[in-house]
């Protein structure tokens, strides 16, 4: 543990710590562009120059490891002049098109100019070098070479993380330019990360392009629902509209990355949403309000149990539901309906694509959670057979998908059930075939936890209120159960999670607080 003195602060840091990271520990910001914690060290932007006592030259903080007794200054006159000087050089050919640049508001050049620059330009506008603008280089990415500061983060990302190497720097000196090889666009499933690693507006997202100024966006910490990996994300929204998601660093799950599929998952929160609780009879829709719809569903369930027996009702749970929701769905089926007909499936249409980086074949965020909570997927096909055999009179379905069935198969199957209640957030074959539609909140509109493929329990937070008249699934389940006499008095997802921790061994000792921002591993994760 070398002891160092940084700006007069005495510090003890682990062996091999760089000056930049030591400073971070001391709460001292050292500006940098080419350094990225998850990529190799380039040491080329020269923004992180610091003064080290007895060293003849300024040193790059990103590449210099501290040694015992090192005395470092990050704010001396010499350092300030050097950093401002580098920033000035970085900006001389910059097109200054911030008013039409998507990066504006979260741009490394803007931020550091305000902190370390504020210099008057000494460079003539007419001498600026112009490069190619708005190039579609494939994947989710647009490239504007004029805005590029050649930090090479994107080049390193593609060579070190995806190992696909589509981008390179060509030409020399101030004509250097990043680009793809002719006719060979970006070709991997992680292109969206390039817009994140780019500290300036050179690589921007085609999807987010010109949609919204970033300062109008709010963010909430969420979990990607695109597959069982459970990548940690920040969800960016304005009012009740989602605009984009960005990966949130979690070394145990997704490092600093996410895939291109997950990045577009947010669109489901904006499109084809179910907004109003609806009862449907003989082809006509009624929207009598939540109380009536929940009462009707509860009544149908109870009526069927009473008249036809517990084997005539069924509940299809969803691996898209949270642990809290699944826990109460199980209890609803077990304790209120006392039916053996509770199952779920993680199957999806088509083959589940997977790779060895992040993408999992299981396209559901909480299959593991469902299993850890004792809900089986083994009985799913048997349940479908019961439905097809017209043995089920009342069916309660959660989620937006019914396994790998296509729309026609869903419609045919559900036509065999006299009363189908669907709890879901989006329109589809299920909601069209339902007799009762109970619109539920998306992941961005509710609170809960998912358990990823490896058994990591992770929390997601609500960014905004559910669209239209939708409600969190938890409220719907509690509503139905209480109509059936459950007498549950859970106040929120955290209190339900308390119930999980109390009775479900894998979750023992956990609370929403202890999960924190990066989650905890379920105790039976290793052998479940």
């Amino acid at each position: 543990m070398p002891n160092i003195i940084l700006n007069g602060i005495e510090l003890s840091v682990p062996d091999g710590t760089t000056i930049l990271n030591a400073a971070k520990q001391a709460g001292v910001e050292i500006p940098h562009y080419c350094y990225h914690p998850k990529l190799s060290i380039a040491g080329s932007c020269r923004m992180c120059l610091v003064e080290v006592e007895k060293a003849p030259k300024l040193m790059t903080a990103c590449s210099t490891t501290v040694t015992d007794g090192m005395v470092i200054f990050t704010d001396s006159e010499k350092v300030r002049k050097a950093v401002t000087g580098v920033l000035e050089l970085m900006l001389i050919h910059h097109p200054l098109d911030c008013p039409i640049c998507d990066q504006a508001g979260e741009c490394g050049l803007q931020d550091y100019y305000m902190k370390f620059g504020l210099h008057k330009s000494r460079y003539d506008l007419g001498d600026k070098i112009h490069k190619t603008k708005h190039q579609d280089i494939g994947g989710q990415i647009m490239l504007d070479s004029e805005r590029c500061i050649l930090c090479s983060r994107c080049v390193r990302f593609l060579s070190e993380v995806t190992k696909t190497g589509e981008l390179e720097i060509s030409q020399r000196a101030n004509h250097s330019e990043i680009g793809i090889f002719p006719g060979r666009p970006l070709d991997n499933n992680y292109t969206g990360n390039l817009a994140d690693v780019c500290p300036v507006g050179a690589l921007t997202s085609k999807d987010f392009r010109f949609k919204c100024r970033v300062w109008f966006l709010s963010a909430t910490k969420s979990i990607c629902t695109g597959c069982a990996n459970g990548c940690n994300i920040d969800a960016h929204f304005r009012e009740q509209t989602m605009y984009r998601v960005k990966p949130r660093v979690n070394d145990a799950v997704n490092q600093a990355w996410m895939c291109d599929f997950g990045r577009l998952e947010y669109k489901k929160a904006n499109e084809a949403r179910l907004a109003e609780p609806t009862l449907r009879q003989g082809g006509s829709d009624r929207m009598p309000g939540w109380e009536s719809v929940i009462a009707e569903v509860a009544f149908k369930l109870k009526e069927t149990v009473d008249h036809d027996g517990v084997d005539s009702v069924a509940v299809i749970a969803s691996p898209q539901s949270s642990n809290e929701e699944l826990f109460l769905v199980r209890r609803l089926a077990d304790e209120m309906l006392r039916t053996p007909n509770l199952a779920f499936t993680s199957r999806v249409a088509g083959e589940g694509f997977s790779d060895d980086l992040l993408i999992k074949a299981d396209k559901n965020p909480n299959t593991r959670g469902a299993k850890l909570l004792g809900i089986t997927d083994g009985g799913f096909d048997a349940l479908l057979q019961k439905i097809a055999d017209k043995k089920i009179k009342t069916l309660l379905v959660f989620g937006n998908v019914l396994g790998d069935l296509d729309d026609n198969e869903v419609a045919t199957l559900l036509s065999a059930v006299p009363f189908v209640a669907v709890v879901g957030s989006n329109e589809g074959a299920l909601s069209r075939a339902a007799h009762a539609v109970l619109p539920s909140a998306t992941v961005f509109e509710r609170v809960g936890t998912f358990t990823n493929f490896a058994g990591r329990v992770q929390r997601f937070a609500a960014g905004f209120a559910p669209r239209g008249n939708a409600r969190p699934e938890l409220d719907i389940v509690i509503g139905i159960a209480n109509r059936l006499g459950a007498g549950w008095n859970f106040t929120d997802a955290a209190s339900v999670f308390g119930g999980i921790a109390a009775s479900e061994a894998p979750f023992t000792g956990m609370t929403h607080e202890t999960l924190g921002e990066s989650g905890q591993n379920a105790t039976e994760a290793g052998n479940a």
């Binding site: 060290i41 380039a42 040491g43 080329s44 932007c45 020269r46 923004m47 120059l49 030259k57 300024l58 790059t60 590449s63 002049k81 050097a82 000087g85 580098v86 000035e88 050089l89 970085m90 001389i92 050919h93 000494r122 460079y123 003539d124 001498d127 070098i129 500061i149 050649l150 390179e168 720097i169 030409q171 020399r172 000196a173 101030n174 004509h175 250097s176």
Partner: protein, 426 residues
């Protein structure tokens, strides 16, 4: 005067192995193969052989930097010779290729390296061909390849042609280029002696440095040291260009007076003109005024007057030459050759060019000189490799020593010599 390298360079056949051997070639290699590695390195240390590429680092000490481990070592020969004004390694390779090959074999034996690469400047097509022919001859005679002269020592030597980048004369970008990568300098540490070519411990030596080695082995390090000045053993090949009566490459003892080089050996300034300036050691070394050139041409003496003997390329500038235009030509070069990796050099060299060109073209602005000097401060010492220094040193020295000429250009908004500077790479 005793010559180390060029004694037989007048003989056209010296480049063939037969003549080279008749004139005493490859005797040193035989002798070296009978010595221990430490004894060879000691001899080179005693010789005070300083690297001839430009930095002047003592060769024997450099060889001692290899880590004491079992990893295969690589010997790389820097034949990139890209520094403007320098053309002496080219002479060795075309006139005495076996001197270099013999030096390589001895050095590789001392370093226990079995792989060796000559990284030669891409434009040196003729020299690469001569080297390849000479290497084939050396293999055929058993001076290269397996079990050299029955010693049990193996060495393979390959010529690798560069692709035309000045920066690839810097040893780490040379190594990247040799590996087939973009010619960008590497961050140090690790230094090439620890992690170099193909991740292996690597020594990079200049052509002339290694060509000196056979003579040192034959005649002894002390004898070599005594040829030169203090701390600067042996002779140097000095390439003199510009306005002198007899430009060319001269082999002279280290520490020869620079004024003598120009006036005695090269016959003085052409057509009796007056001397205006001398760039003493390749384009990046600080320029000297006429009154400064009475100095010993060795590393310490040149450093004392704030310049350097660098790569041994002396550029002689006569009266009537526009110093602004010369700086413009140099800045054009550096702006073209910056590899573009580090921000200060990538953007700064281009800015240098922009400002110096406008001054020369009568569009200089008040404050341009101070702006250039401030830019020097913001660039020099702020980059991975010394290219920003190489560009900054001429700027600083030209502006310091010929400031009035720059001021006149700006004041009169024209070049007093009537020159117009055309930038080659707009």
């Amino acid at each position: 005067m005793e010559l180390v390298l060029t004694t037989h360079f007048g003989n056209d056949q010296y480049r063939t192995i037969g003549t080279y051997q008749e004139l005493g070639g490859y005797v040193a290699l035989k002798k070296a193969l009978g010595m221990t590695s430490d004894a060879i390195i000691d001899e080179v240390k005693k010789a005070s052989l300083r690297g001839r590429g430009g930095a002047g680092f003592p060769a024997g000490i450099k060889w001692g930097f290899l880590p004491k481990n079992d990893r295969p070592r690589v010997l790389v020969i820097n034949a990139d010779e890209g520094e403007p004004g320098t053309f002496k390694d080219r002479l060795i390779m075309s006139r005495g290729p076996h001197l270099l090959i013999e030096g390589i074999a001895i050095a590789a034996f001392a370093l226990n390296a079995h792989m060796s690469y000559i990284y030669i400047r891409g434009e040196f097509v003729k020299e690469a061909n001569i080297l390849n022919e000479a290497i084939d001859e050396a293999y055929a005679k058993g001076f290269l390849g397996k079990n050299i002269l029955g010693s049990g020592f193996d060495l393979d030597l390959t010529v690798h042609r560069g692709a035309g980048a000045y920066v690839c004369g810097e040893e780490t970008s040379l190594i990247n280029s040799l590996e087939g990568k973009r010619g960008w300098p590497r961050l140090k540490p690790p230094f090439p002696a620890v992690v170099g070519a193909f991740g292996l411990p690597t020594i990079v030596n200049n052509v002339e440095t290694l060509a000196d080695v056979p003579w040192i082995i034959t005649n002894g390090g002390e004898k070599f040291a005594s040829l030169g000045s203090e701390k600067n053993g042996g002779t140097r090949l000095i390439g003199v260009s510009g306005w002198v009566e007899k430009p060319g490459v001269y082999e002279l003892p280290c520490g020869t007076n620079l004024k003598d080089i120009i006036y005695k050996h090269c016959g003085g300034i052409k057509n009796g003109k007056a001397l205006k300036a001398v760039i003493p050691g390749g384009s990046s070394t600080p320029v000297l005024r006429p009154e400064e050139i009475d100095v010993a041409y060795d590393i310490e003496s040149m450093a004392k007057i704030g310049s350097a003997s660098g790569s041994g390329g002396v550029i002689v500038i006569p009266e009537g030459t526009c110093m602004v235009r010369i700086l413009g030509v140099l800045m054009n070069f550096y702006a073209h050759e910056s590899c573009g990796q580090c921000t200060p050099c990538r953007e700064g060299t281009g800015w240098f060019k922009t400002i110096v060109s406008r001054i020369e073209n009568g569009k200089g602005k008040p404050g341009d000189i101070d702006l250039l000097l401030d830019l020097c401060d913001n660039m020099m010492g702020r980059t991975v490799c010394p290219l920003s220094e190489a560009a900054g040193m001429p700027v600083k020295s030209f502006l310091t020593k010929f400031r009035d000429e720059f001021e006149q250009h700006i004041r009169d908004q024209k070049c007093p010599y009537g020159n117009k500077f055309q930038s080659a790479h707009a």
